[in-house]
């Protein structure tokens, strides 16, 4: 039994979600091969070769994989994946995009967003925005799986895998990359940060997010947001935490001016410690918070920044 894992990266750096996915693969058990598909991404493959538990890195460098277009990625993974028992990717926006194509073309189900491995064919996954946890058994010969990184610890980086180059260049020829707007920030990535501070509609406008950024900089935290704050245009979409945004589980999550709708809780309720700051003592966010402070955020956020 061998497992093919698909690495998450941006051609420059290997993303942390890959490490959690390798841990999930290790729990299934078997030889683990890690595919790095992209363009000019030798550096990523070198980093990937250090992940403990990986026996071989498959490096597919082609311009057609540069932006991980689903149509091209699916063809590559399909070609490589046929002889594996499991094909696994992090449940990132890239993995969610191409993996179901792979599953459909293999005529197998995809088990999305697993948070626990019970056995080689049985997995746990949250459903209904995390309001229930399903235990699902796959009846297929090849299991196609995406992994929610918050469910697994990151793998160590003290391994030494071999690197094999894959020569084939798949181009479905039906889709092209046009442009991208990548959010640049010096703060840690939302899904990898130990501390996350998020703002909601209560922030009032985008400028006021500066109050959170100041605190974030002192704590080395990432800044997130509720859907309402994104929809109102306060901050960009990649900051949304929740059922349909990013799933985070930091050591400390600070929710500021967020009411605590179930769709928001779905994205952060597995955080170790939750702090809620809200002026409405009835706000549902307080029912999941370890520490709640009923206060006007505009009074207390400057004080918090100053006292850190």
């Amino acid at each position: 039994m061998a497992i093919l894992v698909i690495a998450e990266h941006d051609n420059r750096t290997l993303k942390g979600a890959t490490l959690n996915t390798i841990t999930a693969a290790s729990q299934i058990g078997g030889d683990i091969h890690l595919l790095v598909a992209g363009n000019n991404c030798k550096g990523v493959a070198a980093t990937a070769a250090n992940i403990a538990g990986v026996s071989k890195v498959l490096l597919a460098e082609q311009s057609t994989y540069e932006h991980q277009l689903a149509e091209n990625m699916a063809k590559l993974v399909l070609e490589l994946g046929k002889d594996y028992s499991h094909i696994i990717s992090p449940a990132t926006s890239a993995g969610k995009n191409f993996m179901p194509r792979v599953a459909a073309l293999l005529d197998v189900a995809q088990i999305s967003d697993i948070t626990a491995v019970i056995s080689a064919d049985t997995f746990e996954r949250p459903i209904y925005a995390g309001n229930a946890v399903a235990t699902v058994q796959s009846l297929d010969s090849i299991k196609v799986i995406t992994v929610r990184s918050t469910g697994f610890d990151p793998a160590e980086e003290n391994g030494s895998a071999s690197i094999a180059e894959i020569g084939t260049a798949h181009d479905a020829g039906i889709s092209t990359f046009v442009s991208e707007e990548v959010a640049e920030s010096d703060r840690p990535e939302l899904t990898a940060a130990n501390i996350v501070i998020s703002g909601g509609r209560g922030m009032g406008n985008g400028e006021n997010f500066g109050l959170l950024e100041n605190v974030a900089d002192k704590l080395g935290a990432a800044v997130g947001a509720s859907r309402a704050a994104v929809d109102a245009g306060f901050v960009p979409n990649d900051m949304q935490v929740g059922q349909t945004g990013k799933i985070v589980a930091p050591d400390l999550y600070i929710a500021v001016g967020i009411s605590g709708a179930i769709q928001h809780l779905a994205g952060m309720k597995d955080s170790k410690i939750i702090v809620a700051i809200n002026k409405d003592e009835e706000a549902p966010i307080f029912t999941v918070a370890d520490y709640g402070l009923v206060a006007d955020l505009f009074d207390v956020m400057p004080e918090l920044q100053q006292k850190l």
Partner: protein, 249 residues
């Protein structure tokens, strides 16, 4: 052009989810059901394309028991032209849904298929991608903006790092993200009118699809409950707790 929209009947997003005491599934008896919010956005996009003259015909299709005709009627009341129900048992698997939809795509030959990115019950986020693969056509998932130009769809996608724009040949599958548009409400006259719009019923047999089981649901349990915490009265007290009790800063 012709547009096909897939709509799923799901629990209303405001309704409380209860797990059955025997842990076999969630309990949906007497629960308010609705059209999946992402599908509602898909319907709105199709209707707008019709209103702007880009689309000539819009079709809403749902896979499930007879009850899902309710959601097809909602889509018709929102402005879709006709409906198709594919009769199956409750909660068909995504791969089966994709296979059934692929047959409808082959029959109807739409130029564009719009779907939700995710159903809020299964949280699968896969059916649209599977349909695109089975039909051998491109996809643009998590769309927050979309234009049709020169036989292509140019779609801006919400991705982890920000926004990505792709151009895909038609026919194609587009799956909607929350910010693509703001769905309208159905007016009473339109709800009445929708009752007379055509709604065809088909079976997997007629479409030549075998409903194979690929997964088995062994258990459904409520999530781990969080312990209720404490309220603090000041930033000083909060910092004290975070430093000496929780030890997270």
């Amino acid at each position: 052009m012709k547009i096909l929209v897939a709509v799923k009947r799901v629990i209303d997003y405001n309704a409380k989810v209860r797990v059955k005491t025997d842990n076999t599934d969630v309990d949906l008896t007497n629960t308010k059901m609705a059209i999946n919010p992402f599908c509602e956005i898909a319907v709105e996009e199709a209707v707008r394309l019709k209103e702007s003259g880009t689309a000539s015909e819009t079709i809403a299709v749902s896979v499930g028991p007879k009850s899902c005709q309710e959601q097809i009627r909602t889509a018709l009341a929102l402005g879709m032209d006709r409906g198709i129900q594919i009769e199956t048992e409750d909660s068909p698997e995504s791969l089966s849904v994709a296979k059934l939809l692929a047959k409808v795509v082959a029959e109807e030959q739409p130029d564009l298929i719009i779907m939700g990115k995710q159903a809020i019950d299964s949280d699968n986020n896969q059916t649209g991608q599977m349909l695109a693969a089975l039909s051998g056509i491109p996809q643009a998932t998590f769309a927050s903006e979309m234009k049709i130009e020169d036989g292509k769809a140019v779609v801006t996608r919400e991705v982890d790092g920000g926004l990505q724009t792709v151009a895909i040949d038609l026919p194609a599958v587009v799956t909607t993200d929350l910010r693509l548009n703001e769905p309208r409400y159905a007016s009473l006259p339109n709800i009445m009118k929708a009752k007379r719009k055509p709604l065809a019923v088909k079976t997997p047999d007629e479409l030549g699809v075998e409903m194979k089981q690929h997964t088995k649901l062994l258990k459904v349990a409520p999530p781990a409950e969080r312990q209720a915490g404490v309220m603090v009265n000041s930033i000083d007290e909060l910092l004290e707790k975070l430093q000496s009790e929780a030890k997270v800063i």
